[in-house]
């Protein structure tokens, strides 16, 4: 039971943090370099999940993917199923919930890259695409790494959103944190303790790895 929940949680965390990289890199680059006058609105939206109670976010996501909403109907017309109370729904909710933890470190580290380097790159004939991968990405890599690990760890530990969207279906939507809650409710403190300890050690290990790598910054940054 623990292993099933753990494997589901890890799958969820890997999937969410990888997808968040795909969203976070372009979004972070845009936030770091755009002079669009409405940028602050996007920044506010990206930061919302930090301040909102997970239940609020979960509730609205649940409504949005329910059978009565346009999104839910559209999804139903394509796949014949529903997002609510499924693993895919969980992925969607977690992406929204962990978005700031991926985007903010990435945007901050991209913004700290000297603009002159980007200008030099373009006068040397490099396109924006090439400039991004040769200059911005390697120099902003510590932020990318932080964004990846934080969104991974944050997804591992989320509770409220998962509870709202996923319900508590073993093998489909029951993550480790939900399992712990479940066990405590049924007064199975021994199992709850083991599960909680596992999660604690996992998160601690990840963060230790992250900060350890950042200490050896230059190696991580430029050694490859």
């Amino acid at each position: 039971m623990i292993l099933q929940a753990l494997s589901l949680t890890l799958r969820l965390a890997v999937l969410v943090s990888v997808i968040l990289m795909a969203i976070g890199l372009p979004l972070g680059y845009w936030l770091a370099s755009s002079r669009c006058r409405w940028k602050f609105v996007v920044e506010a939206i990206v930061s919302l999940p930090i301040v909102l109670p997970p239940t609020v976010l979960g509730f609205y996501v649940l409504v949005a993917i329910g059978p009565l909403s346009p999104l839910g109907r559209w999804y139903h017309s394509i796949t014949g199923g529903s997002l609510a109370f499924t693993f895919r729904g969980l992925v969607l909710g977690s992406i929204l919930y962990s978005l700031p933890f991926a985007v903010q470190p990435i945007a901050a580290s991209f913004a700290s890259v000297d603009r002159k380097l980007l200008e030099a790159s373009s006068t040397l004939g490099a396109s924006r695409w090439r400039t991004f991968w040769r200059i911005v990405f390697p120099l902003g890599f510590p932020g990318v790494l932080t964004g990846f690990v934080l969104s991974f760890a944050h997804t591992l530990g989320e509770f409220g959103v998962v509870l709202m969207i996923g319900g508590n279906i073993p093998g489909a939507t029951q993550t480790v944190s939900i399992l712990i809650y479940d066990q405590v409710q049924s007064l199975n403190y021994a199992i709850a303790n083991r599960t909680a300890l596992l999660l604690l050690l996992l998160c601690f290990g990840l963060l230790t790895l992250l900060y350890g790598l950042r200490r050896r910054g230059r190696w991580v940054l430029w050694g490859w």
Partner: protein, 378 residues
């Protein structure tokens, strides 16, 4: 012009620029002003001189495509880079114009070699390595190729940045005060390398500076920019002899300009000896070029010359020249003396100095000038 970088660009014969742009003014609370310049530059050095905040860097940025003019037209030979009327605005990466920033902007995470060949990505490996090695050789940085920019000296960094811009064989080159931070000898050597490179490639080079010495050292032509307008344009000598504007006057601050030729150079002491044409008078001046036997002009400010009425001894100053006063007049609180030493020097004194030394026309005296008071102009 070839813009994909797979072949070298044909050197341009002419870059023509017409830029109008509103600028916010220097610093906080600076008054906004309109940048409005129109000029054409040909192969060789053109100096763009002006005080800071005059809009020099903006002009370069507009040519390179890093800033967008409000209106105007920029073209290289018959290729239009920017034309507000026709809606043309080629992105910087397709303009093929070399740009050396004041801060150099070397990529800190790449080695010197990776920095240099950054602009050659469209070439195959052999061609790229060949060109990189060749330019590293000619700028004397071959030994540094595997180092990172943080591990080399300031002068070496300038060379790397220059090599990086030139290896792509740009059709024009923009330099934004790239040598300001260097000592005179290093600066001179780098400029000689650049000059040698351009003897072969003959591209238009627009060199921005606010340092007077560089104007004289480099200039075929100097343009003076003040508050967004070009107020003078000509050879350094032409601009210098008509100092009707404030920044030109700042350029022209030399009352004494003598022609001469280098008879010996002492690189180890950072000096050279030059003889004033038509006289036997020799001056010791700061080293400014490595080759001798070339004509030079030496500028000395009238206020930088000391006067002694007997042969001075125990001085650190290396230039002591005997002469006699041919004219003496007072203008406001400055006494202006003309002294004949074979060539005529103008010397500024205070009335007190004139009185205590008892100077009058015909007085025999010795002029004293430090090596560093003698400025090589050309």
């Amino acid at each position: 012009m070839v813009v994909n970088g797979s072949e070298s660009a044909v050197p341009a014969h002419e870059v023509s620029i017409h830029v109008q742009k509103r600028l916010p003014g220097a610093g906080n609370g600076g008054t906004p002003f309109q940048l409005d310049v129109r000029f054409t530059i040909a192969a060789g050095f053109t100096i763009l001189f002006g005080t800071s905040g005059a809009g020099k860097t903006t002009v370069l940025d507009c040519i390179a495509g890093l800033q967008k003019p409000n209106s105007g037209r920029i073209s290289v030979d018959n290729v239009t880079l920017f034309d507000s009327a026709k809606g043309i605005d080629l992105p910087a990466c397709r303009r093929h114009i070399g740009y050396l920033f004041q801060t150099l902007a070397l990529f800190p995470h790449m080695t010197v070699r990776q920095n240099i060949d950054y602009g050659l990505s469209a070439l195959d490996r052999r061609e790229r390595d060949g060109r990189t090695s060749q330019i590293a050789e000619s700028f004397g940085i071959s030994g540094l190729c595997d180092r990172r920019p943080s591990a080399i000296s300031g002068g070496e960094r300038q060379r790397v940045a220059l090599a990086r811009a030139l290896v792509t064989r740009p059709c024009a080159l923009l330099l934004d005060e790239p040598l300001t931070a260097l000592d005179a000898v290093t600066k001179t050597r780098i400029l000689e390398d650049l000059r040698r490179w351009n003897d072969r490639h003959a591209v238009p080079i627009l060199y921005v500076t606010h340092q007077r010495e560089e104007v004289y050292a480099l200039g075929n032509r100097v343009m003076v920019l003040e508050a967004g307008k070009l107020i003078a344009d000509g050879t350094p000598h032409q601009v210098l002899t008509r100092p009707q504007f404030e920044s030109v006057a700042q350029l022209a601050g030399f009352e004494n300009i003598v022609e001469g030729s280098v008879v010996a150079s002492h690189p180890e002491q950072g000096t050279m000896t030059c003889r004033i044409t038509g006289t036997s008078v020799c001056l010791e001046v700061p080293l400014s070029r490595v080759d001798t036997e070339r004509p030079v002009r030496v500028g000395v400010r009238a206020g930088d010359i000391l006067v002694a009425t007997s042969p001075p001894q125990g001085l650190s100053a290396r230039n002591v020249i005997a002469g006699s006063i041919v004219s003496l007049r007072q203008q406001d609180v400055t006494v202006i003396a003309e002294v004949d030493c074979g060539t005529t020097f103008v010397v500024h004194l205070t009335p007190g100095a004139r009185n205590s030394l008892g100077l009058k026309v015909g007085t025999q005296l010795w002029l004293v000038a430090k090596t560093y008071s003698c400025h090589i102009l050309q």
